[in-house]
């Protein structure tokens, strides 16, 4: 009998630990031409705010060693736009036994609250909400609010009473243990980490940033070892489940996150480089679990020996 891969991410029951990192997976439907998206345990949709955002100027991405850097600036259709354009698809994906985590973006606490209320009103398909307090590419909100325990706690304190659905928080790659503790204390059901790492890429001939802004967010394999360390630190600090994100390209990368303490693991930029990677990564994960000789993948969570 093959081992059980089912996990529970803060109240979101997933048939396997694989999730997708917000911003690398559109709204899910973009991948249906490559494979059956419902093979994933969950997807996380692009962050949406109470109203549509146009995002940042061009250029928005550049290649860097081991990954990429982006400054999309959370371009999104707003919660209403998401529901109008993709609501029926996402509801149908839920029926296909794939959980739908909707990411929430905001420029202020009032923005986050308003967006959560809109999701409550309009998006019955949402299995859970992921509050993004760590986007490095917007002028206010995002990382500006999520980079201190006090700022992060304030956002979650405001949104927590507005929803009974599982509430996840997308964390910045900074001050992880103390911010994780603050979020757990405010009633977050799970933590997603890490968001992209603030970085820079400069065209030395023109002396200009390769993005429309001086800095952007790094993603891709270059982030993986940093993310594994931060997931391990968070898992030592809190008892709520963690979704590990950062540079996953293989089942082995997923396994590292699980051994470091993650309950679920998101595939990020690899979705863009190799759009049909998820079924391959899932098969590799299954092979690893079988090789480890356990009947339940939960027995491997946090099983790092050192």
């Amino acid at each position: 009998m093959s081992a059980s891969l089912a996990v529970n991410l803060g109240g979101i029951q997933m048939k396997n630990p694989l999730n997708t990192a917000s911003g690398t997976f559109g709204f899910g439907w973009q991948f249906e031409g490559f494979y059956d998206v419902s093979c994933l345990g969950a997807i996380t949709t692009k962050g949406c705010a109470k109203e549509a955002w146009p995002g940042n100027d061009q250029p928005r991405m550049a290649d860097v060693y081991g990954g990429m850097i982006n400054s999309v600036g959370l371009q999104n259709p707003g919660v209403r736009g998401l529901v109008e354009q993709c609501g029926s698809y996402l509801a149908e994906l839920r029926e296909r036994d794939c959980q739908v985590i909707c990411q929430v973006a905001g420029h202020s606490i009032d923005d986050y609250v308003a967006a959560v209320e809109l999701f409550e009103e309009l998006a019955p398909f949402a299995s859970g909400l992921e509050i993004n307090i760590s986007c490095p590419n917007i002028a206010c909100g995002g990382i500006a609010m999520g980079s201190t325990p006090e700022g992060a706690a304030e956002v979650i304190r405001a949104v927590r009473p507005r929803t009974k659905r599982p509430l996840l928080v997308k964390m910045a790659p900074a001050r992880v243990p103390e911010i994780a503790k603050a979020l757990e204390a405010e009633g977050a059901d799970a933590l997603t980490l890490i968001n992209s790492i603030p970085g820079m890429a400069i065209d030395v001939r023109t002396r200009r940033s390769k993005l429309s802004k001086p800095t952007g967010g790094l993603s891709g394999p270059l982030c993986h070892a940093i993310a594994v360390r931060m997931v391990w630190e968070a898992s030592q600090a809190v008892s709520i489940p963690i979704c590990g994100v950062g540079g996953v390209t293989s089942g082995e990368d997923v396994a590292e996150f699980i051994l470091a303490g993650a309950t679920a693991v998101s595939i990020g930029s690899q979705n863009l480089f190799e759009p049909d990677c998820a079924p391959r990564i899932l098969a590799e994960l299954e092979a690893w679990v079988a090789e480890q000789g356990v009947r339940d993948i939960n027995d491997l969570r946090g099983a790092l020996e050192c």
């Binding site: 911003g23 690398t24 997976f25 559109g26 709204f27 439907w29 973009q30 991948f31 249906e32 031409g33 490559f34 692009k46 146009p54 995002g55 061009q58 250029p59 928005r60 991405m61 550049a62 290649d63 860097v64 060693y65 081991g66 990954g67 990429m68 982006n70 999309v72 371009q75 109008e84 354009q85 993709c86 609501g87 029926s88 698809y89 149908e92 891709g220 394999p221 930029s269 979705n271 863009l272 480089f273 190799e274 759009p275 049909d276």
Partner: protein
């Protein structure tokens, strides 16, 4: 409302039949990819993955010049502009590359056409050659202006002269081949001289801006093919944004070809 339609792009492993320098820093690569060759429409693009280059994990978006449906081949053109395209130039005949396509919306050549003006610069000449081939098949007259910085970077003239029923004018910034100056100058002169019912432009944004503004002022339909840095090519990453009079659109799914009247040029 139903689910939005995913990209028609599919992944395939394509055999490299040829990969050679055309001129200056311009290369052409001929790929054996029968399903892609059947599916591609002029003005669409493909995303090519190069292995073994840590500075290029994203796929490289490339335009095609021509397909041979019988042979099942697709000819792509690229310029050496960074580590990814340098790695691509080292790929040898007989190797395989992962390609994703067809991507995006190509030129719309469906209206009744009598005479079309084609204007290009740099690697923008690739989709212009594809358009010229299609127009020649349709028996539509076309004049072409091809620009480059200098003679060693000028390419595609022979292929165009062999195909189009009309003038082919070369222009170089330094005057080392053809007319001296930007491609916009002969293009504007042609617009004043002939009655066109469509103008297609692909090249640097200032060229597209100047030529499309003139065409629109004359009441001539104009399409532009835009270049953007992009990570996916199928609508998932939101990096290839294009400002339009309607909304922010994506070059990969809504373009790369746009009606010039909707594009807000910087």
């Amino acid at each position: 409302m139903g689910a939005p339609t995913p990209s028609a792009g599919r992944l395939a492993n394509a055999l490299v039949r040829e990969n050679e320098l055309v001129s200056g820093e311009i290369y052409r690569i001929l790929l054996e990819a029968p399903e892609l060759a059947q599916a591609l429409h002029e003005g669409q693009f493909v995303n090519v993955s190069v292995g073994g280059e840590a500075k290029q994990l994203t796929r490289i978006p490339l335009s095609f010049t021509q397909v041979d449906e019988q042979e099942g081949t697709v000819e792509l053109v690229y310029a050496l502009i960074g580590p990814g395209t340098r790695q691509l130039s080292r790929v040898e005949k007989g190797e395989t590359l992962s390609v994703l396509g067809p991507l995006g919306n190509g030129w719309n050549l469906s209206a009744p056409l009598h005479r079309v003006l084609l204007v290009s610069g740099g690697t923008g000449t690739a989709p212009i050659i594809a358009a010229a081939m299609a127009l020649a098949k349709m028996g539509v007259d076309a004049d072409v202006v091809v620009g480059a910085r200098s003679s060693d970077l000028l390419w595609g003239i022979d292929a165009l002269e062999a195909k189009v029923q009309g003038e082919v004018i070369a222009a170089t910034d330094d005057g080392s081949a053809g007319e001296k100056g930007f491609a916009s100058e002969p293009a504007l002169a042609l617009l004043a001289k002939h009655d066109y019912d469509l103008v297609l432009v692909c090249g640097p944004e200032p060229l597209m801006k100047v030529v499309s503004a003139k065409a629109i002022s004359l009441g001539i339909a104009c399409q532009v093919s835009l270049e953007r840095t992009m990570a996916c090519g199928f609508g998932a990453c939101s990096t290839c944004a294009v400002k339009t009079v309607h909304a922010m659109k994506g070059a990969c799914m809504d373009g790369p070809v746009f009606d010039a009247s909707e594009v807000i040029f910087p």
